[in-house]
């Protein structure tokens, strides 16, 4: 009886918690006004979460695209982004800086070590009234060669 209680009660609480979390995950994310730097960064991370490297590349400015080639989606298959939290967004004329905290699920095996959060900064430029990423953003450290 004791064993059943000390195992059954925590497992029941766990199931309730998971169900509540799954329900909460269906909530629509916060949407930022169209044409703001935050909305552009939100689009960019949505693409990364979907492992759509091409879609994310389309959010690069023409100047950045002229320097860097289009990566394949296989290049970002390893990403397991759990959440991205806006920390700060500053706009100065037609440039903007957005700082975010990116949380990734680490090794997802049975001995997985949970998650890790890093702060990343993205620089954007307003081109023809549209905010585009103007400097090589996370998770890229160097450009893919054009035509490669």
């Amino acid at each position: 009886m004791r064993t059943a209680i000390t195992i059954g009660v925590p497992l029941a609480v766990l199931v309730l918690l998971v169900v509540a979390a799954l329900v909460a995950s269906r909530r629509d994310p916060v949407t930022y006004a169209e044409g703001t730097p935050e909305a552009a960064v939100q689009d960019y991370f949505d693409m990364l979460i979907d492992h759509d490297a091409g879609g994310a590349y389309d959010l690069f400015s023409p100047e950045l695209q002229s320097r860097c080639g289009r990566p394949s989606s296989a290049e970002i298959d390893y990403l397991t982004i759990a959440r991205v939290v806006l920390q700060e967004a500053t706009t100065s004329g037609d440039t903007a800086t957005v700082r975010v905290a990116v949380t990734q699920d680490l090794d997802s095996g049975p001995f997985g070590s949970g998650e890790v959060t890093n702060t990343e900064t993205l620089r954007l430029a307003s081109i023809d009234g549209r905010w585009l990423i103007d400097d090589l953003p996370w998770p890229y450290f160097s450009c893919f060669e054009k035509g490669g």
């Binding site: 000390t6 918690l17 509540a20 979390a21 995950s25 994310p29 939100q42 759990a82 095996g109």
Partner: protein, 589 residues
């Protein structure tokens, strides 16, 4: 031709294995026919051969299993695969070609030995092989089932290799589980013995660590989603339920392993020393340690926000990391409570296991309290002399208070319980658990105090001799100073308790001799009379009735007389010895 050349090393390896097999078999047949199977040389040789054979079997099993995994993975789909490396298939084939025949041959050899020699199944080498193989297979199945479930819950694309590995090593696990269950539990003489096999404890430990970690992950990501949905409105993007599904996929096989090993088998196994060792160290201490660390993180987070110097500007950002410690607190607490309850017995009196639990937790409390006092002293020094170039004085104080809030109640509750039991029942004072607790706490704290004192003096004297004694010196030696004070206090307190315990359990002093004068009247020679008188105590006045005609009483009679004289309350005793018989009676002073 190139293909045949590639097979040459495999043929040589297989030939070597076969040659060894033939040679050892021939030797064993010779030993069985006319050798000395029961002799020491035979035992040692058998053990060496067994070790060699089962070592080879383990390697062959690994080769064969991984070869079959490679072949299965070659026919199953892999994610994002545009082309296949032919070398992988070649390697899988090579592993299979070498591994499977070697495995079959070695398994047959082992099977024959098990049938022919009962000692084979009792041997520790066989037990070690089974445990090692079972654990290897268990870990591989656990990891690869988890990876396969990631596909099932739609967070990763299908990958045939983990599935193949889970199936093949699952079969290895099943076979070795059956063999392990069949292995008789006997002692060195071959008699049945109540014992908890190591593989059950090891499997339970794997399940506990993997299940605890994975369940903690499930709770953490679930709480994170709830936190994001209810508190933190700055979430820009998120993976939605994928994190929860990923964590659940990892947790399901891990919890299944724990339920299978612990709940299904180990919990019902004989409660031997190693069983209690596992429950106390892995279950109780592991759960308690996790709970305390997580609780400390939560308390520190709250106190830091209220009184400290937090980095985050908003409460929602500051407490965004809370789901992790809360998850660890929940899982660690559940592990602690569950294992504590498994220790509970129906005995009316306090058992040694109850004592071990009490002193184990009290010891953890002492450690945390020592750290707390150390931090208090260090924070005090820092508050007085300043924090140096950067940093806040508030956070060290908050950290010290956190340790105090965790450690002091824990130690007080369990130590007071131990002290109350010691007062009510003297057997508590004599118990090995209490003595071990006192000696370990005393020894460790004294050792740490000495080391900290050396570090403290080195830092102090370095600045003194260099003429640089300043506030910075105090700041630099604040931690060793705190350690010296805290561990010295702990060592001092426990030394007093240990001394009191020894006094209270010391044997009572011999009763004070009340007979001051003995009148001895005997028929002994003067020498014998002197010898008898020396054993009676007190001042002896001797009178001899005949000049040494009687025999001397034997030692037992003398001891009885001495005891009788000591028991008298009259102050004087009359002892008469006649014809070897001895009588004692009291004389009024």
């Amino acid at each position: 031709m190139v293909f045949l050349g590639g097979l040459l090393p495999l043929v040589v390896t297989a030939g070597l294995v076969y040659a060894v097999f033939r040679i050892v078999s021939a030797n064993q047949r010779a030993a069985g026919a006319g050798g000395h199977p029961g002799g020491t040389d035979g035992d040692l040789r058998d053990q060496v051969i067994r070790l060699f054979r089962l070592g080879l079997l383990f390697i062959a099993l690994g080769l064969a299993a991984e070869g079959v995994v490679g072949l299965l993975a070659a026919v199953l789909p892999r994610p994002g695969e545009l082309a296949r490396d032919p070398e992988q298939l070649a390697q899988a084939l090579a592993f299979t070609i070498v591994g499977v025949p070697a495995l079959v041959g070695l398994a047959q050899w082992t099977r024959r030995r098990l049938a022919a020699d009962p000692e084979e199944s009792w041997s520790p080498v066989w037990a070690g092989y089974l445990t090692l193989t079972l654990l290897t297979a268990l870990l591989l199945v656990l990891t690869n089932v988890s990876l396969t479930l990631q596909w099932a819950v739609d967070v990763e694309p299908f990958d045939g290799e983990p599935l193949a590995r889970a199936l093949v090593w699952g079969a290895v696990f099943a076979a070795h589980w059956v063999l392990s269950r069949r292995r008789p539990l006997v002692d060195a003489q071959g008699a049945a013995e109540a014992r908890t096999p190591w593989y059950l404890l090891a499997g339970s430990l794997v399940g506990l660590v993997a299940g605890g970690t994975a369940l903690g992950d499930v709770v953490q990501v679930s709480l994170r989603l709830l936190y994001d949905a209810t508190v933190d409105s700055d979430v820009l993007a998120g993976a939605g339920s994928a994190s929860v599904r990923r964590a659940v996929a990892a947790a399901v096989p891990a919890v299944a392993v724990w339920l299978w090993f612990w709940l299904g088998h180990t919990l019902r196994a004989p409660r031997t020393e190693r069983w209690y060792g596992y429950v106390l160290l892995a279950g109780v201490l592991g759960g308690l340690g996790t709970t305390l660390i997580a609780g400390g993180q939560i308390v520190f987070g709250v106190l830091e926000w209220l009184f400290g110097d937090p980095d985050a500007a908003t409460a929602s950002a500051h407490f965004a990391s809370l789901p992790g410690p809360v998850a660890a607190l929940g899982v660690g607490g559940a592990v602690w409570i569950h294992h504590r309850h498994t220790l509970a017995t129906t005995a009316r009196h306090r058992t040694e296991i109850d004592r071990i639990y009490t002193y184990l937790v009290a010891f953890v409390g002492v450690v945390v309290c020592t750290a707390a006092v150390t931090l208090v002293v260090a924070a005090f020094v820092e508050a007085v002399v300043g924090t140096g170039l950067a940093g806040s004085v508030a956070d060290p104080i908050v950290l010290a208070v956190t340790f105090l809030l965790i450690g002091v109640p824990l130690w007080l509750v369990f130590w007071r319980r131990a002290e109350a039991n010691a007062k009510a029942d003297r057997s508590e004072v004599r118990s090995p658990s209490r003595r071990l607790y006192l000696l370990v706490t005393l020894g460790l704290s004294a050792a740490v105090a000495l080391v900290a004192l050396v570090v403290l003096l080195t830092g102090f004297l370095t600045d003194l001799t260099a003429g640089e004694l300043a506030a910075e010196t105090a700041r630099r030696i604040r931690v060793p100073l705190g350690l010296v004070l805290s561990t010295a206090a702990v060592a001092g307190y426990h030394a007093v308790v240990y001394r009191d315990d020894r006094r209270s359990t010391a044997p009572p002093p011999p009763p004070e001799r009340r007979v001051r004068e003995v009148v001895l009247i005997s028929d002994l020679t003067p020498a014998d009379a002197a010898a008898v008188a020396s054993g009676l105590g007190g001042r002896v006045v001797r009178y001899t009735t005949a000049n040494g005609v009687g025999p001397r009483p034997d030692d037992d009679a003398l001891a009885a007389a001495a005891e009788a004289a000591a028991a008298l309350t009259t102050g004087r005793a009359l002892v008469t010895v006649r014809h070897g018989a001895i009588e004692v009676e009291g004389l009024q002073a």
